[in-house]
């Protein structure tokens, strides 16, 4: 063999070894850097996924925009177009926020499925709307627009609560509507009298927050204004109203829970035992219902205290 043949052969083997070795390092590195690659379609599109997603998006807008409504007659086609966009670009937020929502009345089950996939996408891990939409769809009864007797999806409150909780956990400062939706879904999942269920959900959430459980792994989440919500829920549980707005009598169970909540949590808030309205310092009777309340915030000299360190009439340290 000639010398240059040997050299060329050696170079070939060496470069093949280097390329193979680097490929073994680069392949896992790449799927770590581009995590969405694992969600992408396997179709041979020569790495042009993102561009094909744009084209599919424009086709979707063009088609869906021309429909007067998306219903059972056309939802299959619209869904296929949406699934195509998501397969090419799972990070495409608009395809969930406008796209999936547009099919939620015609194919709620598919909409929830697509949103659930998006919830697992690390790129969208901070998106609040996606789990919220999923919860929103799941907490409603959705009927076929062309055939009102046909129910497309029944509410699944437990699943809805899970999505609402996910939305709450994705933000430091959850909006009030997220929390209300979460509590109501959880209460609906418990069933029974709604105002009582809401109160018992809030009471459990409060207890768990005091126990300091790790919120990611348990079925509750941090609710910032829980005490205000408890006051409101207590009042509503004490004076429940029916669908027509008529006042009802609270059940024995509700009264027991109300007493427990008042004793354990709300005693610091100086609420009227009767109507659950806060009493002002020095009040002997409730200003709302006239019920006697336990007086608070009064110096032994009888002067009503402001939040200062000494009584402003007799100078006694408080």
């Amino acid at each position: 063999m000639k010398k240059d043949t040997v050299i060329r052969f050696m170079i070939m083997i060496a470069s093949l070894a280097v390329a193979s070795y680097l490929a073994c390092i680069l392949t896992p590195m790449q799927s770590d850097i581009s995590q969405e690659k694992n969600f992408l379609t396997k179709a041979p599109v020569a790495g042009l996924h993102k561009f094909f997603a744009d084209v599919a998006w424009m086709r979707f807008i063009n088609f869906a925009g021309g429909l007067s409504s998306i219903d059972s007659t056309n939802v299959d086609k619209v869904s296929r177009m949406l699934e195509k966009i998501i397969a090419y670009d799972p990070n495409f937020v608009e395809s969930y926020q406008s796209g999936v929502l547009s099919i939620s009345n015609a194919d709620p089950k598919l909409a929830v499925k697509l949103l659930e996939q998006a919830c697992a996408n690390p790129h969208l891990a901070h998106n609040i709307q996606i789990p919220f939409y999923a919860g929103f769809i799941l907490s409603r009864t959705i009927v076929d627009q062309n055939n009102p007797d046909k129910i497309l999806s029944e509410p699944d409150y437990a699943a809805a609560a899970r999505f609402f909780r996910m939305a709450i956990q994705r933000t430091r400062d959850p909006e009030s509507y997220l929390i209300s939706n979460y509590i109501h879904a959880k209460a609906k999942a418990r069933g029974g009298e709604e105002s009582l269920a809401v109160l018992s959900v809030l009471y459990d959430e409060w207890k768990m927050s005091k126990a300091g459980k790790d919120e990611i792994y348990s079925d509750y989440c941090q609710i910032p204004d829980i005490e205000e919500r408890l006051v409101k829920a207590t009042r509503e549980a004490k004076y429940p109203i029916d669908d027509e707005g008529r006042l009802l009598k609270p059940s024995q169970k509700a009264l027991e829970l109300i007493a427990k909540v008042q004793q354990e949590i709300l005693f610091k808030k100086h609420l009227c035992e009767n109507c659950v309205t806060p009493a002002a310092p020095g009040d002997k009777f409730c200003g709302t219902c006239g019920h006697a309340v336990k007086t608070w915030g009064v110096c032994s000299c009888g002067h009503i205290l402001s939040s200062k360190a000494y009584c402003t009439r007799c100078g006694k340290k408080q």
């Binding site: 052969f9 170079i11 093949l16 581009s34 807008i61």
Partner: protein, 243 residues
Amino acid sequence: MSEIMAIASGTWKNILRMKVVYFLIFCVWVLVGIASMYEILTIGHHKPLMMDVSLVLNAIAASLVVLSVTFEIPRELRQGVAATLLTKSLGRTQYLAGKAVGICVAGFVICALIAAGSLIIYALTFSEAIAGPMFQAHFLLIISIIPMASMAVFFATLFPEVAAPVLTIIAIWFAYSTGIIANIPVVYGGLLPNLDLFNFKSHAVYLKPIPILYMILVTVWGIAYALFLLMLTSFFFKVKDIK
């Protein structure tokens, strides 16, 4: 070395001397600019669209530049150009290497022009600074010319004028579509080219930075794979009859 560079400079000068190349670069810039008019058709998605269009067109341009060598080599072999060089055994390897280097240089210049122009158009249209990942995505695309050039040289040497470009295009398409076969790194990236390693087009849109270490390693991979394929080609080329 001087022979390699002589062949290389002949190749890139040939391409860069053609006025049509600059006209096509200009057309690409125009197409990128047009993407800004798609605001309504995409309901406000025209910004990512422009970035995607610039990357796709640059990738197509890279493939076309690389493809030009699949016409050039079979023609030169048929016409007996550089016949004296090809009679020497070392000369044949130098010829292949020179072609690969030449096509890489031409590709770098053309794709860098497209990338720079597109990014400037993007910055001017939306009056915002160019983010790092946008540069990185275009840069990796340009580096992918190295293994692609060796693939083109491989097919151009072994196949006649019509088959070579077709096979090169199929091979490039296949090498970018790693999803279709099980991704075993030694096979795909070792023996077969895995051009998808250079594909970070979505990062330019979602502004996710690519680690510098990855950029360096993937460049080394491109060079190593190109070297492997060129040496392999040189063995086939040696036994090939040339008039």
